[in-house]
Symmetry: D2
């Protein structure tokens, strides 16, 4: 059965060559337009997940839920839906893509009835011990209707003998290991929590006296809420009729905020972990220019995610930033070529090279990260076909060598080109004239507190024990040495 789940996950091959993360969170307490503000908050967080969206709202008596597959604008396309979610408190969730069949049942928030009444939950992240917890609860007779970690934690909360809901939630979260930000909503209470390592972002805002929480501050901006602070690692924030108060989970051995949020996930206009994403991202680009200069004419980005790093690179390198690739924003996330055997049409539908910019030029192409390398290979082909004289790829993060167990879907190690191949082999594979990555040291040099970041996907230094099946075949640690690199 669990094998099935894993099989399903494997089938969910990423449609493009990017890491994907799970989910955006938004919650609000104390505003008459709670569901509407949540709708806008999810709009701003749409980049964190496009597969499914949902909002649960409480009017103090009853929690109502609407969720479904698709973008926020699609799930709430019927304008009356928000009217049917009355109340002054709400939580919302955007979910990233997995397999087709599981979309419906894995949409969040999940709403349950249990001994205390109703409880909705939504989360961002990945629990390392959820399979163990699940197995143990199943052995005791529990049933599971989703593959979501939220359901695991809801089981724990329901089983807790603690006096109140906040205590039950805290007790439950103490038992889970891994990366998470959680939102819970009961008819009378909103609870927000970050894991003790602080992997996933969650920030606090204020709107006309109402409490707002969101994965990124861009969701505060859209509704005009004021940014207050990042929740602390291990902080459990409770908001109810008595106001706000926080309790703290037992401290983790260290802080481990996901550095990939800075590299790729967060919108550049967001503040996460208390820092402005665009500031860090630009610094990655600047540092990359120092570490890996290129004798070139112009700097272009793979739009839109590498734009900020490319600006930083260009600035530090004293080169001109240009827009050399145009992204077609009308391409839906479900684009599938009706051509059967067309090689590059998927990339050509998404990007078009600007020949006037590229022709005859020595070009630095800045990309934020490389997972499998397939899309980048095609992109470089496009850039060359537009007449670029030289193509120098600069990656504003180190090689991704190890899978992530904390919520970023980089799949298995085999799919990570940098776990199989040396840099030179990757360069040859993608067809670049040169390829350079940002060093781990360089990356860490620009974040405020390097020891507070998780860099496991680059270094293999996992802050927690890893899932037991990790060492059996799925990830062969010895190959990290890269002694022999297989075909790329």
């Amino acid at each position: 059965m669990r094998a099935v789940t894993r099989r399903e996950r494997r089938r969910a091959a990423p449609a493009d060559d990017r890491p994907r993360e799970c989910c955006g969170l938004f919650g609000i307490w104390g505003h008459p337009d709670a569901a509407r503000h949540t709708y806008f908050g999810l709009y701003a967080l749409q980049h964190r997940g496009q597969e499914a969206a949902g909002i649960a709202a409480s009017d103090g008596q009853l929690v109502r839920l609407h969720k479904g597959p698709g973008l926020v604008s699609q799930v709430f396309a019927d304008r009356t839906t928000l009217d049917r979610l009355p109340g002054a408190a709400a939580i919302g969730h955007n979910r990233y893509s997995t397999t087709g069949t599981s979309i419906a049942r894995n949409a969040q928030p999940i709403l349950i009835e249990y001994k205390r009444g109703q409880l909705a939950a939504a989360h961002n992240g990945n629990l390392v011990n959820s399979a163990d917890l699940r197995r143990a609860m199943e052995d005791e007779g529990s049933i599971f209707q989703t593959t979501s970690d939220s359901e695991v934690v809801l089981h724990l909360v329901a089983r807790s003998r603690a006096a109140g809901l906040p205590e039950a939630i805290a007790e439950s979260l103490e038992r889970v290991v891994g990366a998470y930000s959680f939102l819970f909503l009961s008819p009378e209470m909103l609870v927000a929590a970050r894991d003790p390592f602080g992997w996933r972002p969650l920030c606090l805002g204020r709107l006309e006296g109402a409490t707002v929480v969101a994965s990124e501050s861009c969701a505060l901006d859209i509704i005009g809420a004021e940014y207050v602070r990042s929740l602390d690692p291990g902080e459990v924030l409770i908001v109810d009729a008595d106001g706000e108060r926080s309790v703290h989970l037992p401290a983790a051995p260290r802080q481990a905020s996901c550095i990939f949020e800075f590299i790729y996930f967060a919108r550049p206009d967001s503040r996460i972990f208390g820092e402005k994403a665009d500031k860090i991202r630009r610094a990655f680009g600047r540092r990359l220019a120092e570490e890996a200069p290129a004798d070139s004419d112009i700097v272009i980005a793979v739009p839109d995610s590498a734009n900020t790093a490319a600006l930083g690179y260009a600035e530090a390198a004293g080169l001109r930033f240009e827009i050399g690739l145009i992204r077609n924003h009308y391409v839906g996330r479900t684009f599938i070529s009706p051509y059967q055997h067309e090689r590059d049409i998927d990339v050509r539908v998404k990007f078009n090279p600007v020949a006037g910019v590229l022709k005859g030029r020595r070009v630095v192409v800045v990309e934020d990260s490389i997972v499998r390398g397939t899309t980048l290979r095609k992109l470089i082909g496009l850039v060359r076909s537009a007449g670029a004289a030289e193509v120098h790829v600069r990656v504003s993060s180190p090689p991704i060598r190890c899978p992530c167990f904390y919520g970023i879907d980089m799949s298995t190690r085999e799919e990570l080109i940098a776990s199989r191949c040396e840099v030179e082999a990757i360069r040859a594979h993608i067809g670049a004239d040169s390829l350079r990555y940002l060093s781990v040291e360089g990356m860490l040099s620009v974040v405020p507190d390097p020891r507070a970041m998780c860099t496991a996907c680059f270094t293999g230094d996992y802050p927690t024990a890893v899932p037991e099946d990790f060492h059996k075949g799925q990830f062969d640690r010895s190959r990290r040495t890269g002694a022999e690199s297989k075909s790329c």
Copy 2:
């Protein structure tokens, strides 16, 4: 929280004046086209539920599920859906209508993962003690994601320490009280069960060596399967690689098959409880003619459900059967008048009186049952407007005085006109020249084994203890005497 559930149910006011039952079941084991046959079986059982439909299929390794709101033809409109349900075993479910918001989460089958792996379940009926079981399990930490009895039983199965799945199911069913037919599907096994009272129908068929189970035999006919027999009350039929075998739950004090299946629910071409529905239904009509003759010219039915009884009435009364009301079959189940204040448009959209048949005639209108009387009142107005000289209503079942706890949604006692009003008051309310019901004795005289039938909705003789909140206000037993009848 439970109050919420009840509130939700109350909101689900029936759209027309008929009792509604919950659900049609179909299952098949051992046929390469399992999902396709289930699709057709559900087509034939569509009259038992139009709100949602679903199919779970097993290929021996994995149970896959597709379900959604709407008719079978709508839920499986994408022709590729059935292809994505491979395997030689499948179960399917049609669900009757409730409120809009709960449609999605209450669709069946429900598919869970638990300690033994995957298990899907679907049921028809209503458990009397499900609220108690639910409350007890919630107290022990269980969570519920639907309001379905299937989920309650799945919890019991998951908690069972019995050696095998069949034993776990039998053990679980021993703990529930009420009316049910159940289908379970694991990757390796199909289990079908009827409650010990035998309330809901479930029959066994055979198709090219495959085992088929269905709520009514019309679902066997559509796929060309042979009817074998009705499952026994309390029978648990297990089908797996080793073949078919049955175990039996502890016997109930009596058999109590729902007589309303004969009166209204079953398609006349179906065999249920071992009997042909049209034969019994016609006998109701004949007996009604003997008990309650009418000095009339013609007999018409409220189409389509009263057609067979009307034929029997006409035959026994020596009167001509005529088609005096035409039903518009293009009216979807979701018809809502765009007129705001139009009185009878809903009935006029559904039915049109045939003036050529009715004009100047003394008409017997045969109806199968009266719940609230609102639609019948409008229909009689239509019949009169077409020029009928006299309208004599004959009902082929006794007055419905008591709510049903075994799966028929007649809602609360207040909505049952016959629980509030004497027959004469009902006659005046609906505007008939005369109104006669079939007697309980007459009804029972035509079924093969009167003691095997549940007649609680007519007599109040409930075969089981009734839910505890039943006596507190929702149903005032003393009023069954009808001493004072309130306004109808």
Copy 3:
């Protein structure tokens, strides 16, 4: 190009074994709720066409249109659509099924702008000389965007030099030959017309001072309008701010109302051509019983269209009418079996035989007409499989030997089994123990004015010259003698 159109028509093979007619009409002038009443009128006329629906409404200044593929309830599913059709005048149209690709562009009403302003038109029927008119106008430079006769007539109206719109319409209709009922709507005027032969029905009604026109009176009944009269053949009714007035087109050599309206198309509760459809239809059945008795136990109908004739047959034959076939009304018009090679599944999905009625019985099956015989053949197989001892088919109309050019889609002569085969061969083909048709004389004996009816599909006596390509191969008149009957 014209060949293309013909080819497209040929592709539009009828999905079942019935003749199909084109379209229902409804119009109203002088009621604030014009579009809403039209919506309900189209609901009542849905049996005349399920492929597309549309409503054009005028507020005195502007004609607005909404139309699309599907049932009325689907096309107007968005409840706000009717609100966007304001005004006191409206016309509506239901269209019957043809090919998929042409649905969108052939939906009616058609709305044009021309020298006088806006004009919408909708029609029921078929023009015999539309190809000639079209060709002639094309030669003069006209363009056509649909294959609809309405567009041909709109071109004529636009080209007319007549003083006013009514005159222009009358002038145009004088130039067309064939069967039609037409509705026109300009911002200031509603015009309704029947062809001089009186082929297609159109009746006049009154609702609270408003003028109503409809193909059948059932559309008056649904909105509570009073039936006034049938429009005369050749009558052109003009309704505007000055009230109602009629002009008359030059008289035709004879009246030729389509007798198939009585046999099959009209709802039995409708009045058409001034007569109640169910009265005539029942008389067909009675006469059939006299002409073609059967030594049988019971009479059943192919539901629902043959119900009335079967009641008449049973009455005259002194046999019991029974419901031996149940029709599944949940089967949408677009049902396509997901089984690839399943023989009878389409019929078994639509009909189920009632074994309790049929078993061991000698059964008369009354059908209203036979076009190709394929469905009837499968139905008889179903009836036999339910245990019928003998199956005697009685058809309440004569053999259809000739194609119709006046609006009934019986396709080409080759598809008409009775144009290729003698009755005995048809009997053998469909597998009946006996087969008898109503005679032409018998059919005509029960209509009020036999000389006023068109019987061309039975007799080949076409009231007009037939299209020129008719004699070239598509229809071989000599074979009407049936000297040699080919394989059926």
Copy 4:
């Protein structure tokens, strides 16, 4: 009637503050995958129109059409649609947004039948004399089913007595005045034409021997076709079994290619009028920097349309280009705020300011054009709210003072803020610290042949006579002097 059309147009208020143009064209002759290539071509041209899309394809015998409202990906979402458009020739069209009700009927291509057979047409542009032509043809009896200029020209072609289709098309195009690029497809021939002034772009490409035409070269790039050249003004290119040949319409007094294509419409990676759009657009930015420097820290663009000009500005000004506004690409074109009275939510949903970039900075905001100024006003508010110290707006085109009659929907003069207000008043209205436009001279200085461009919207120098109703109130020429500027 015509008033209606105008009224409808007025209702179609632009959703945002940009000029909108009508339509993208793509055609291909001589490739077995014609419809599929057209699908991709339209994908690349989606920026030219998002309201409706359509493809007509010819297999040499028959022209088949599929079109509908929405994006290309939506209209052709059913993967089998392209399969139902077989043939080696196809034309396609993207349509820009107007009112909801007219979407369906104004989608292109339009397909007609006329004396020569079938003909499909699609166009980009606006005819100045179409109302006159239409009125004249209506007077002669023609009917119109759309408000599209394509239908006007199709009428002319159908009326032509010329010998062949190419001659008929040329003859028809000689009679129309205005801006257009046209594609025609008959079963045997593809014809592409540009108006003699050369207003709208249309280029020629080659793919594996097939002829390709497209509004912009980016549609050639996506399918891997080679760019050959821009069609000449007045060129009519005929492609059929005999190959390609061109005829030329009578020369216009001058060339008048729309300079707004360079300013805003064309994708920067496209070549139009033989020039690379990004090269010209960047030069506008550079020239603007020379004409209107700003004492600032950084340069940002209003994304994405002003990106290229902003890069040019930054380069020439020696300032750093930054990404200060993030565009949310998940916002569908139909976004409507569910908030009722929220002022800026539409802009905040679409754009988010990057505080880290803007805070404390003196910012140059480069915009490509200003129509009404409403969106820009809100955007400047956003930029200020993010902490910008100063906001200097620089517009890479001159003030738009006059409406366009050649295909760009800038609506009436009243809506053009620069036709009512002086620059200083506009500056105050939008809340900028300074506002400078590119001069007409500056603009013309960077295009290869200034005399070949139409600059009417900036200068009022219309290359043709303007529509007669233009001078009556809708546009008051005297106010161009700006003697008194009304409130902005």
